[in-house]
Amino acid sequence: MYVAVKGGEKAIENAHNWLSEIRRGDVNVPNLEIDQIKEQLTLSVERVMSEGSLYDTDLAALAIKQSRGDLIEAIFLIRAYRTTLPRFGTSPPIKTEDMVCMRRISATYKDIPGKQKLGPTFDYTHRLLDFSLLAEGNIPKAEKRKVLKEKIPHVLRFLNKEGLIQKEKNNNYQPKDITRNPLEFPANRSERLQSLSRADEGFLLALAYSTQRGYARNHAFVGELRIGYVKVKYNIPELDIEIDIAEIIVTECESVNQFQGSKKTPAQFTRGYGLTFGQLERKAVSMALVDRALRWKEIGEEFVGAPAQDEEFVLSHCDNIQATGFLEHLKLPHYVDFQSELELVRRIRKEYEKNK
């Protein structure tokens, strides 16, 4: 007689051991060190920190190593670790106007106070495989330049002065932490931006792309993209002094979009906003475009039914940890449900045959 499959426990243990072995690969090849990942796979590390919502390069590098380079798995490890950390308090908003920029460009003005700074970018590189990296060839020395500490004003400030761009009002709203409060709809912009900032890069990219192709078309200019170091401050309540607790790299993008105006408002520009940990340009620009598309109601635009305009659709599906978990749960046993469907289909077919 058939005996149902048993021994799940042993099988799981064996599978995990195999995983560890295959993660390490050929033992004759030197073990990958965390510092190597941290220093040489910086953009992976930064994506994991951004979507994991935890700024810690060591832990992100460890997660990448542990996950065999599967970044969504690494993000998951970071998220699961993050939830166990105690909350001491909230830091005041970072000041991106005080950023020490390593890259700062504007696509709307040729010349601007603070200048265009290209910084370390893939833009304008020819995408040719560099075979000298196989042999670890010579690295060309970048021209040494003092890091400019002067403040670089935001580009959109100049449009603001002229009243040509929609003014952002400070509504003194105390943002709700979306990791400590359930997301409910309609969400406000603060919760929306929090969600988008930790959203899956690929998902945001596709949505932003869809707006470019005419699904809620709204031609965007990159008003400004800046990448650099900002200080995170914290106010110690017992002492009532503000101290710097960290310096982090962030990418900020402000998009400028045309708006034709309505009966209430004259034609003016509007903006979308993107902010991420690390140097994640693709994601910051995508985020700005999606943010802008989601603002249709507030701006008085028409809802054309495009996915990027639909807040509930975007926010409910942008988190790759939720998405991957639910997708991958399909691999779990569903014997019981499948059996009930089998039984139903058989019954319906039997009746169909009878009535034929």
Binding site: M1, Y2, E312, S316, V336, L344, I348
Partner: protein
Amino acid sequence: MRKTNNVIKIKDFKVDKGLPFDQEYNFAYLDENTKKMIRRAIIKALCIPGYQVPFASREMPMPYGWGTGGVQVTASCLTKRDTLKIIDQGADDTTNAVSIRNFFKKTSNIKTTEITEKATLIQTRHRIPETPLKKKQIFVYQVPIPEPLAFLEPKVSETIKMHSLSEYGAMHVKLYEDISKNGHIETAYAYPVKTNDRYIMDPSPIPKFDNPKMNNSPAIQLFGAGREQRIYAIPPYTKVKSLDFEDYPFDPFKAEHACDICGSKNTYLDEIIVDDAGNKSFICSDTDFCNKRKNK
């Protein structure tokens, strides 16, 4: 450069104190503030049977969709005196049941059992045991999609309104259309119920064979949906009715066989293909019930 190497700290702690790794975490993994938040949601859910209470679901060390909601509810209800049983597809030894049981063993050092009567808290995926639940037992369901109306209206902002106005016409129309097309309601699992004559509720993807067990049960039934951030509940001795029509009454069918191991004729069966010719065997999905019967 900032130094926050938490990993090293954990290792040091382990060496210094000689503690097993898992005591680094609070009892049953979640911190007490999180448990308090979840318990509040559970109490609210028990006060409004079948109503979906939003809660700030945490990221757990297992994936969303693999029982994170159930695990959070269990973690919040668990005390050191509890005896825990975990089942998936009715069985104690399916991979995810094993994994969740080990998680609680590690993080709470709790007593576990496979025997339904001995458990004070049972977490389940897709089944209700054949052995009737008792007073003082807590029964926790893992829920993938808590919204029974989701397949008619995907927007939660809309379904919330439909529930508050008891606007359930669309659901009845759907069931009616099923019957007019095929002579059957085409739902074999996650068959919608009405709880306490008020809220239409998703019973989680249990086969509809199990639906009647929810009605008037002496146990506390809690439902946790982690990804969707919802908790709902059925308090003990509450009316739970599967949706149907007078002329098409609810029919909790199962495979028309007896169990090939224990011979039971009125339990839910798994269908197993035993050879290349496609020959089938039927066995109880509730492994604990089947073992007990077989050994009698």
